[in-house]
Amino acid sequence: MTPDVMSAAALVDRRRGWRIERRADPSAVGWLVALLLAALGAFILSGLLLATAGASPLDAFSNLAKGGFGSGRALANTAVKATPLIFTGLATALAFRARLWNIGAEGQVFAGAIAAYACTHALDAAPALLQMPLILVAAMIGGALFGGLAGVLKTHFKVDEVISTVMLNYIIAFGLSMLLLKGPWSEAGGFFEQTAKVAVNAELPILIDKTRLHLGFVIALVTAGLMQVVLAHTPFGYEVRAAGSNLRALAFQGTNTTRLVLLVMATSGALAALAGVSEVYGVHHRLHAAAIVGYGYTGIVIAILGRLQPLGVVAAAILFGGLVNGSTLMQIKTGVPSTLIYAIQAIILICYLVAWAAASFRIRRPGRTTPSGEIGRAGHG
């Protein structure tokens, strides 16, 4: 999706005779090679980064891996960290598949958390079986409305969705702060910018004792599976994929593309909102900005690394969940600040993008013709 959609074209090399061509679709092998190259590049660059901080890269990395994937418990907690990333990754992947650049998963997580909290705030002590579905539905409605707002701005007011979603991310963060800081939801007698704890009935149940693995992870996996089916096998998925390649042709055939854009933005927002539920009701059990901040932006990285495929998103989210989870052990053992992982995430993304683009180039010697995916050029002759 990202670089590979661009058409193949010859890029003439300065060196005589040799040339670099860009192919339409890198092969599966090419993709694997790209992944390995990206991993290697990210490893080397992150190692250099650690060296600039005067730390031993191997030490840091081994603690990072141990903390993230070294034991059953580590794995369970990695799954906990991966859960919100799966939701925001899916949200971003859905929008990007339709070539809608929704950068607003961050704000939609906030919207979902706020809507869900408004719901439990009103419900107080209703039984868990009633609370759970209500929370999920309220969050999804909140996220859908907030995502849909960016959609309306695009379809009816021609505001570029990249800009509007980023602006909305800032706006809703201030909105939450207004509710929490000496606001209607601030903890009675509390000093921090946070709500009181939610009722125990509203908490997402823990799945394995002595870990923090909660129901949210299962919901995330089910959602990913559902999205895979929806994208590949339903008319809506068909429209999303068609919009990603040629929205105009879809409109020419009578599909209401305005409605489609709104629907995709709303659905994307609803998916992102679930990350807010998983953090507020699964991990922190109260609403405060620190519980939900940052997942939206990391979700973009997850979506791209996962090739905008739901199952790829799950894999990438677990990898990143492990990084986040392992960074604590790394900080304790080696003193390397856990903020390292944010730099590493960006480095992984850049290495992946570069390796992926490079894999779609290939070097060809003159006189040897190789099959290429662009028979379409025959029409230009």
Binding site: G254, T369, I375
Partner: protein, 503 residues
């Protein structure tokens, strides 16, 4: 003239893209002051060859000589340095720049924009060739024909000795084309060599010599005064084609599509369609003649329901369809083959099977409950591939990888199936090979026999005269006249296409 040293000579030039050999060992030469035509079908290698001469592509093998000296053309800069200029088929102009800015961009030496010198220079070129251009108008405000003059002046301003013109009359009216050829003659008389790329026989015959290409290979170079149109056609396509079969008189049925004073403005308030009215009968082909950009796109999109008319009424089989969605209109039996097939008609990343249901993804016949009926969709696609002789490995083939002709057949398969009552065809044969064009024409005739009402727009007047029962001329969003083919003559139509009402 034949004794002169060739200005440019090409020896065994070869260029391939992947497995496709676009130009295969072609040799020819060009004399100073000569008008030399490169003739061939679409895909014969003309454009690739000329792109090699202009340094846009680097040939895989072969030698290009200028004045007998081998030259290496790695970029247009090399070509320009050697004195080779080119006017591209699709204009390479900046709509938001003035005429003068378009001509001088990338040519000045100092860092300041020195308009004065360039202005005098351009004015000199214009007056020498009798071109009237307002240098301070924006390109976007010019008519298509005027843009062609800008392109030519732009090339001449670069002081070239050899000028390649790639399909220069594609966007011109017959009058403008004639004027262009008079200009080409003056240019040649002043010593400039002109390479003309064309497939229109009338133009080809106005050159001095013709080099014929077929499927990337060289067929031969002949002097124009020693050959004839039919001979050249035979060389071009490898066989003699008989004159077109006499068109059977059709017996039009009831009015199927009826437009009454349809008017449309664009977002900036410019009038795209101005009170367009006509009736189209079942079993009839109504041709729309006109230079591109005179409202054809808007007309087709309004009828198909992609745009909303601002005033007026459109009726399909007696019922107003003005306020229906494109999907509803299609469901009432209207098919639409759009002008730009890759941009408007197909989803490039989708398979043939998926493209065949485009717009119908919610129809019950393609679904099993909430899921798409993939197997059923594939079966239909296999049927279409067989019926329309689409050359592709199977229904899962990505449309992006198909040739122009096969991609068009995918659209035809989809739209013909919808067109139970009416078919809108906008340039259905543009860029296709002769064989495929014949196929499309026969399919259109078949639909007409079956009683479908067909609206056919084409920039090729020949195509309209071959197929249409009546021909309407569109200019600046207005229909300037509708003629039965039996009384229509090419002069009248040509005059109207240029907007001369009193012709």
């Amino acid at each position: 003239m034949t004794d002169a040293t060739p200005l440019l000579s090409v020896q065994s030039l070869t260029k391939s893209f992947g497995s496709l050999v676009a130009v295969d060992g072609v040799s020819f030469d060009i004399l100073p002051g000569e008008v030399h035509c490169l003739l061939g079908e679409n895909g014969a290698g003309k454009s690739t060859l000329s792109s090699c001469l202009y340094g846009l592509y680097r040939p895989d093998a072969g030698v290009i000589r200028m004045d007998g000296e081998p030259i290496e053309l790695r970029s247009p800069a090399d070509a320009l340095a050697a004195g080779i200029g080119m006017v591209h088929q699709h204009f390479v102009l900046v709509p938001t720049f003035t005429v003068l800015e378009n001509i001088m961009v990338g040519t000045s030496r100092g860092w300041r924009l020195g308009g004065g010198e360039a202005r005098t220079q351009v004015a000199k070129i214009c007056s020498r060739h009798g071109i009237a251009l307002d240098l301070d108008r924006l390109i976007g405000d010019l008519a298509v024909g005027e843009q062609q003059w800008v392109e030519i002046v732009k090339a001449l301003y670069l002081d070239v000795r050899l000028l390649i013109l790639d399909e220069p009359t594609a966007a011109l009216t017959p009058d403008e084309s004639a004027r262009l050829f008079r200009m080409i003659r003056t240019m040649a008389a002043s010593g400039l060599a002109v390479v003309l790329i064309s497939h229109k026989m009338k133009e080809v015959l106005q050159s001095d010599r013709v080099t014929v290409l077929r499927k990337g290979g060289l067929i031969g170079t002949v002097r124009t005064d020693e050959t004839s149109g039919p001979d050249l056609t035979a060389m071009m396509i490898g066989r003699h084609v008989g004159s077109h079969a006499a068109v059977a008189e059709s017996k039009p049925g009831d009015v199927t599509l009826s437009l009454d004073a349809v008017t449309l403005d664009d977002r900036d308030g410019r009038r795209l369609l101005d009170r367009i009215s006509f009736d189209l009968h079942g079993g009839e082909i109504l041709g729309i003649a006109g230079v591109a950009g005179n409202g054809q796109n808007a007309l087709f999109e309004v009828i198909a329901g992609i745009r909303r008319a601002f005033a007026g009424d459109i009726r399909l089989a007696g019922q107003s369809i003005c306020h229906l969605s494109a999907k509803n209109i299609a469901d009432r039996g209207l098919g639409h083959v759009p002008n730009d097939r890759l941009r408007d008609g197909l989803v490039g990343e989708f398979s043939i099977a998926e493209n065949l249901i485009l717009g119908h993804q919610w129809d019950a016949q393609y679904r099993h409950g909430p899921l798409l009926d993939r197997a059923g969709i594939d079966v239909r696609a296999e049927q279409a591939i067989a019926d329309y002789a689409i050359q592709a490995p199977g229904p899962a083939t990505t449309v992006r990888t198909l040739s122009g002709g096969n991609a068009q057949k995918v659209i035809l398969a989809r739209e013909f199936a919808k067109a139970r009552r009416c078919l809108l065809c906008h340039q259905p044969t543009r860029g296709l090979d002769v064989g495929v064009i014949e196929y499309v024409h026969n399919e259109l005739r078949r639909l007409r026999r079956e009683g479908v009402a067909i609206l056919l727009a084409s920039e090729e007047l020949d195509e309209l005269f071959t197929l249409a029962d009546r021909i309407a001329v569109i200019f600046d969003g207005k229909i300037l006249g509708i003629f039965p083919r039996s009384v229509a003559d090419i002069q009248t139509i040509g005059q109207l296409m240029a907007g001369h009402r009193d012709a």
